[in-house]
């Protein structure tokens, strides 16, 4: 057994560069749980926000209540309530289920669903702010060519809101990948729980959690690149960046935005 108390470089290096099979499974769990939770969270958040804009007051109130409850209580509490609480009451127990040969343990289903619901409340806020920041004249112009509000939202306002949404959405997903570590509390075998289990047998606490930190950092960094690629693509699609020269990307980002916007208008 290596000497305790000094940083063991070899252990750390092996953890980072020669991860064990369970470690990689944990990593994969972290990735797919965050992707699914975020995707469902965005979809649900959009629905919640559209309901909050409904013409019917009771619907608006219900959606408002939903957001208030979810943003006002800790995710950890929600997780335990959904997975352990519902089962303890005998109301609902998550069961393992398999789809096309892939088995999804009940606890992971509970994790994804709770994360998605919690995320939807925050996404509803982000979507609201993005919709509100689209010029009101856009809705009027769409209505003036005979569009109903729903159509105008779908074809005119939302496509513009999406662009505004991407930076805060990127933030949310960055956070989501790290927040999945909370699922360890209900027993999801993701990256953090793996580190904990390894720690309980080897006591190489610093090396193990530093290696875990390196993995989270790698995930969020890769996402950072993907996000900036998405932002560039959306900008190019609305004609704001005319030439995608690499030099400009590195040193002069965002200049295309101001050029056209004010031209011609006094």
């Amino acid at each position: 057994m290596p000497q305790l108390g000094a940083f063991d470089w070899h252990t750390f290096r092996d953890l980072v560069f020669q991860p064990s099979h369970p470690w990689l499974v944990g990593l994969w769990t972290t990735v797919y749980v965050s992707v699914l939770a975020q995707a469902f969270g965005v979809a649900l958040g959009l629905v919640v926000e559209l309901v909050r804009r409904s013409r019917r007051a009771p619907l608006r109130a219900a959606a408002g209540l939903y957001v208030w409850l979810l943003r006002g209580t800790p995710l950890l509490v929600q997780l335990v309530l959904v997975y352990n609480g519902l089962a303890a009451l005998g109301l609902f127990r998550f069961r393992d289920f398999s789809l096309a040969g892939l088995s999804v343990p009940g606890v992971i289903q509970a994790g994804i669903i709770t994360l998605a619901i919690n995320e939807s409340a925050y996404m509803a806020e982000i979507i609201r702010a993005s919709i509100n920041s689209v010029d009101r004249g856009q809705m009027e112009a769409a209505e003036s060519i005979g569009m109903t509000r729903g159509r105008a939202m779908r074809f005119v306002v939302l496509p513009q809101a999406v662009r505004i949404m991407i930076p805060p959405l990127g933030n949310e997903f960055n956070n989501m990948m790290k927040v999945t570590s909370l699922l360890s509390v209900i027993g999801v075998e993701e990256l953090f729980l793996n580190a904990q289990e390894l720690n309980s047998t080897t006591f190489r606490t610093f090396e193990i959690f530093l290696a875990a930190a390196v993995y989270y950092l790698a995930l969020t960094t890769i996402w950072g690149f993907i996000q900036s690629w998405i932002e560039r693509r959306l900008a190019a699609r609305s004609g704001e960046v005319r030439t995608g020269g690499i030099g400009r990307r590195l040193f002069g980002s965002g200049a295309g935005l101001e050029i056209g916007a004010a031209r011609g208008a006094r």
């Binding site: 004249g137 209505e143 060519i145 005979g146 004609g239 056209g260 208008a265």
Partner: protein
């Protein structure tokens, strides 16, 4: 100019809170007519125009386009109830609106801007809509800009695309809300030119504008508004002469 009125505004009343912005405004526009509304800012010109396609609600009176009330339907006991959103949208299909600040859809190219209404509202076949959109862009002199995004166009070009977008719905009536007020002076001419051609081709138009040259030469009739009411009305020869009413002469003296 003859024919049935396409637009009938009948004793319309409108207030923002306690502030009455339109009182007792009545106006008829016949098919093919070009009516230019002038008057000091805050006189209710833009509000009147926005009421005509129900971008603003009215608090009294009645607005009809092609004989059908806009935005309202008869309710119990002769009162008027607001139409369903779907019906309001349907009524707007026949009323083109050109905004002061263009309001082009920035995420679409010029031709996509023009196609959107025909494809998504009228259900026109995509290829057919595109062909017609290209024709319209050619008509406003922008055939070469069809794949440009609004951010790549000058103000005058954007406004001409906006006119093409409104025309694509084949409206019975076109409303222009100060279409040249947000433009640099050198771009006013190109937009005015397109509007003049439209008027000559027999489009029914109601134009709120400060362009007196356009009013003098293209209008069949000029309506003068002040303090939320129509204070004078007549052919340009009379409005721009000493025979005009006192408030008209006062307003014109101020702006020239």
């Amino acid at each position: 100019m003859s024919g049935a009125p396409i637009l009938r505004v009948d004793r319309v009343h409108k207030a923002f809170g306690a502030l009455a912005v339109l009182h007792d405004v009545s106006l008829e526009v016949r098919r093919g007519e070009t009516v230019v509304i002038i008057g000091p800012s805050g006189s209710g010109k833009t509000t009147l125009l926005r009421c005509i396609n129900h971008l603003e609600r009215i608090d009294g009176g009645r607005i009809e386009v092609n004989g059908h009330p806009v935005g309202y339907r008869p309710g119990r006991g002769g009162s008027l109830r607001e139409e369903t959103p779907r019906n309001i949208a349907r009524q707007r299909e026949d009323i083109g609106f050109v905004f002061q600040r263009f309001n082009l859809f920035p995420h679409m190219t010029a031709v996509e801007n023009v196609c959107l209404g025909p494809v998504r509202v009228r259900g026109v076949d995509r290829a057919e809509a595109r062909r017609r959109a290209e024709e319209l862009l050619e008509r406003v002199g922008l055939a070469d800009k069809r794949d440009a995004h609004p951010s790549q166009l000058s103000g005058g070009q954007q406004q001409r695309v906006a006119i093409a977008r409104a025309l694509a719905m084949r409206p019975a009536l076109m409303l222009f809300d100060e279409p040249t007020s947000a433009l640099d002076p050198e771009m006013v001419g190109e937009v005015i030119e397109v509007m003049r051609e439209l008027a000559d081709e027999g489009m029914t138009m109601v134009v709120v504008s400060h362009e007196m040259a356009f009013a003098k030469t293209a209008a069949d009739r000029i309506v003068v508004m002040d303090d939320g009411a129509i204070v004078d009305e007549g052919p340009p020869e009379r409005i721009f002469s000493d025979a005009a009413g006192a408030r008209t002469r006062e307003f014109l003296a101020r702006i020239v």
